[in-house]
């Protein structure tokens, strides 16, 4: 019987498995998500003081008999303090342990809030306000620098988008502060607002300080780093110390483009933020309360913009648009202009608010990709200073904006002012799309190269040390791969293509730039000793673990961020090592679990169950028995049966023969032969060379986190391979 005939006859064939279109979701992968959640929360808390004090103004005024000038001094002193301390904190962020800076800074912020709450007069309030302004900049530049080192480069925009939500969430605290102050008084509001700061500070203390430039180094592809000529090509070294560092910053064209763009954006948005309620009252007859609350639609638009643009920029970056961050940010800002013009021109209030929300969405959408792109073009030791300089420019632009709008409004009118200044958003976008786009790729590459060179130098390599650094063996004098193997290794159209995969359990790196390509069809064995990373690699392919670097392609589909359940629906099924059954469930339930990818097709599930029982006859009379009470071999049959019910296109098997008697192993290998005839491709992880060579068409060898393709199993000498396995050479 031919394989084709078998395929047409077996209900277990992967081609008969329904694979309906499903929504592929991508989750944030890499290190745990809680640092991002924590830093976003700290951002929210940190910006909250900007909103809390104005909400307290009426109460403070009455209690201390303050004049409006006094309140103005309180507000102004804060801004002056923020401006003065932003640049020094940028330097601190680049030199010292960033998690400690955030922990200490947030604690100091909390203590200052308590001090402000205990104020007995204007002097204490003023001191409290200025000191709060001092701590404010210890968070933002430091957090952005940290996030760049925590999360993979290809997810930077998404991460910055989520982080940006922290600032928008700060607005929510304004009405909360108002309600608290009405109910309990302004002092209690300050005291209670201080409490979460201590909690997040304690958590921040526990954050691990990542190595600066860690993610940028990982992002460098193997293909790039073996190009020694390019790596050695001397791009100008960026100075990271003293005033030369600032000079260096100003020489980075794309950074300057982003700085000017962000400042222009802040100049426009800062003015709109202050004057929009007046515009709505003056031209659309809204009450003050209605106008103020209407501005909430702007915040909603901004929230959507921040989250969507980050994802979009990352998606495009991963799909052959390396400058997508700049492109998305630039176009978003330009696209905001027509909506602002509509909002400021039309008479219908509903259209005004809708246009404002869309315009705000586009304008804010430019922020996360810009923040990510700025980090890309800055040396890891300059990111604190670069971000702080950007914050100062944006802060000054925001402070000047209401004055500029006021002057122009007095000279003309508010509507004309809005219309005249709307092109500022376009200027911000065009700056990115011209100067930014022209220099971004080159600047980002220069940074990555410098990071790599510095890393080589720290390891004592003059050049070309990339191989040791990422754990790939130096090529021997004789080529490792024979011509036959080279001909076998698929270069195009591989079913499974693992590229430069890095994985660490905390600080312990297990996979080092793993490259592995598997063609469709046949059984492919991955052999290696205990603890070399075989199961880790399989778990990464199955989606149980998230790699920190590299990519896995399945039928050309990038699996990054696709969770394991959806990988199963795509056709990848993992049979874990050991007795991977649910011991307290019956054999029937265990097997039926395999029908998860086509839940609802009861008839197909029943047919497959019947077919499995034909293959694994010993299970027939034990369908209602608890799986945990079966023998080791029978449990392995259940596990394999469950995997087959899913109708896998690619079956990942971890240690099929582990702990089994040779006769049982032999039976299971016979089953694998059948499975291959269904058209399923198998990737089998094995320690037993005998088992691997008995069933596999091709063999890969793994040691110390590196994979080497050995070629067709028929060409391999079992004794030599066993010796190599024992010696552990790649």
């Amino acid at each position: 019987m031919t394989a084709t005939e078998q395929v047409s006859r077996s209900i277990l064939s992967p081609t008969l498995t329904p694979r309906p279109d499903f929504h592929i979701t991508r989750k944030l992968v890499g290190v745990p998500k809680w640092p991002l959640a924590l830093l976003t929360m700290i951002y929210t808390i940190n910006v909250s003081d900007q909103y809390v004090l104005p909400a307290m103004f009426p109460l403070l005024k009455r209690e201390f008999g303050l004049s409006d000038t006094g309140l103005g001094v309180l507000a102004g002193s804060y801004l002056i303090s923020v401006t003065l301390f932003t640049v020094p904190f940028g330097v601190v962020a680049d030199r010292f342990n960033r998690t400690r800076i955030i922990a200490w800074g947030t604690t100091a912020w909390g203590m200052t809030m308590i001090f402000t709450g205990a104020a007995n007069g204007f002097a204490m309030l003023l001191i409290g306000r200025m000191v709060l302004g001092m701590w404010d900049p210890c968070d933002n530049p430091t957090s952005q620098s940290l996030l760049a080192d925590y999360y993979p480069v290809n997810q930077r925009s998404k991460v910055m988008g989520i982080y940006q939500v922290g600032q928008l969430a700060g607005f929510v605290l304004l009405p909360i502060a108002g309600i608290m102050s009405q109910a309990w008084g302004w002092r209690a509001t300050f005291y209670f607002f201080a409490l979460p700061a201590f909690v997040v500070a304690a958590l921040a203390w526990r954050l691990q300080e990542p190595i600066r430039g860690n993610q940028d180094r990982k992002h460098q592809r193997l293909a790039e780093i073996t190009d020694e000529q390019r790596v050695a090509e001397a791009t100008p070294q960026v100075a990271v110390e003293g005033f030369a560092a600032y000079k260096g910053l100003f020489r980075i064209k794309s950074y300057m483009a982003m700085l000017i763009s962000a400042s222009a954006g802040s100049l426009f948005f800062g003015g709109i933020g202050v004057w929009a309620p007046t515009f709505l009252i003056r031209y659309h007859d809204l009450s003050i309360a209605a106008a103020t609350s209407s501005i909430a639609v702007v915040a909603v638009g901004g929230l959507i913009g921040a989250l969507v643009s980050g994802n979009l920029a990352d998606y495009l970056t991963q799909h052959k648009h390396p400058s997508a961050r700049i492109t998305v940010a630039g176009f978003a800002r330009v696209l905001s202009v027509p909506f602002f013009l509509i909002a400021f021109s039309v008479p219908q209030i509903s259209l005004v608010l809708l246009s404002l929300a869309i315009a705000a969405m586009f304008l804010v959408a430019g922020i996360p990709p810009t923040n990510a792109a700025r980090v890309d073009v800055l040396h890891p030791h300059l990111r604190g200073r670069g971000s702080s300089l950007d914050a100062v420019c944006q802060g000054l632009a925001s402070a000047f904006a209401p004055i500029l709008f006021g002057i122009l409004s007095d000279a003309t009118n508010l509507r004309t002012t809005f219309l005249i200044l709307s092109p500022l958003a376009a200027v911000a976008g065009i700056m990115l799309l011209t100067l930014g786009l022209a220099s971004y790729s080159k600047d980002a590459r220069a940074v990555r190269d410098q990071v790599r060179r510095e890393h080589f130098a720290s390891l004592g390599f003059a050049d070309g040390g990339a191989h040791e650094e990422i754990g790939v063996a130096e090529p021997d004098d004789e080529p490792t791969l024979s011509e036959a193997v080279k001909a076998w290794v698929p270069t195009d159209g591989a079913m499974l293509d693992v590229k430069s995969l890095d994985f660490s359990y905390g600080p312990i790196q297990v996979l080092f730039g793993v490259d592995m390509a598997i063609p469709q069809g046949g059984c492919h064995a991955l052999v290696g000793r205990n603890g070399v990373g075989k199961t880790t690699l399989l778990s990464n392919i199955g989606g149980l673990l998230d790699a920190q670097g590299g990519q896995i392609f399945y039928r050309g589909q990038d699996l990054t961020g696709i969770p394991p359940d959806q990988r199963t629906k795509l056709g990848i099924t993992l049979m874990a090592a050991g007795r991977s059954t649910f011991p307290s469930l019956s054999v029937r339930d265990n097997l039926m679990f395999g029908s998860y990818p086509f839940t609802g097709s009861h008839e197909l599930a029943a047919q497959r169950l019947e077919e499995i029982l034909e293959i694994f006859a010993p299970l027939k009379g034990r369908l209602d028995q608890r799986a945990g009470t079966l023998s080791g071999g029978e449990q392995q049959m259940v596990a394999l049966g469950r995997a087959l019910v899913a109708g896998p296109d690619l079956l990942l098997i971890d240690e099929l023969s582990l702990g089994l008697a040779p006769t049982i192993t032999s039976q299971l290998l016979d089953v694998l032969d059948q499975v291959l005839e269904f058209g399923t491709t198998i990737l089998l992880v094995e320690q037993s060379i005998g088992v691997a060579l008995a069933v596999a068409d091709t063999v890969f060898f793994m040691d110390r986190g590196v994979v080497e393709p050995l070629g067709p199993a028929d060409n391999l000498d079992a004794a030599a391979l066993t010796r190599r396995l024992i010696e552990g050479r790649v």
Partner: protein, 142 residues
């Protein structure tokens, strides 16, 4: 011993962590205790919601003040104001006792009335956020 060696010896990670935890614990405790104390404290003079009547650009504001103390008589000075969105005064004044001499016996209430005449139509239309009343001085009576 050099200065840096001295600082390294005493500023160890363990000491840093200890100091940090002490400050965090102190701050949490202090914030909570002070916050709860402040939130549960009842003001001696409780001021009611302002009742406002606007005629032209003149606003007349009436408020009720209640003496919450058990044994002290107060003769409070009550202020009124019209404030904008930023909490800044557009106009302010003093409210006078309505029908009493302004002496507030323990647990007693009294009405105060005041007018604001300096508001402009533009302020009323575009800037005014709310009218507020407040105690300028509790002023225990002799």
């Amino acid at each position: 011993m050099s200065k840096s060696a001295l600082s390294t010896k005493f500023w160890t990670p363990r000491i840093q962590r200890g100091i940090f935890l002490a400050i965090v614990t102190l701050g949490t405790g202090l914030g909570f205790v002070l916050g709860v104390r402040e939130a549960t404290q009842t003001p001696v003079l409780k001021i009611g919601e302002p009742r406002v009547r606007v005629e032209g650009t003149t606003a007349t504001i009436q408020i009720t003040v209640k003496n919450m103390s058990e044994n002290t008589i107060y003769c409070p000075r009550v202020g009124i104001a019209a404030v904008d969105r930023d909490g800044l005064d557009l106009d302010s004044g003093v409210a006078e006792p309505d029908s009493t001499d302004g002496r507030l016996e323990p647990r007693a209430s009294a009405n105060f009335i005041g007018t604001l005449t300096e508001l402009t139509q533009e302020e009323l239309d575009e800037e005014l956020d709310e009218y507020v009343a407040f105690i300028i001085d509790k002023n225990p009576c002799e």
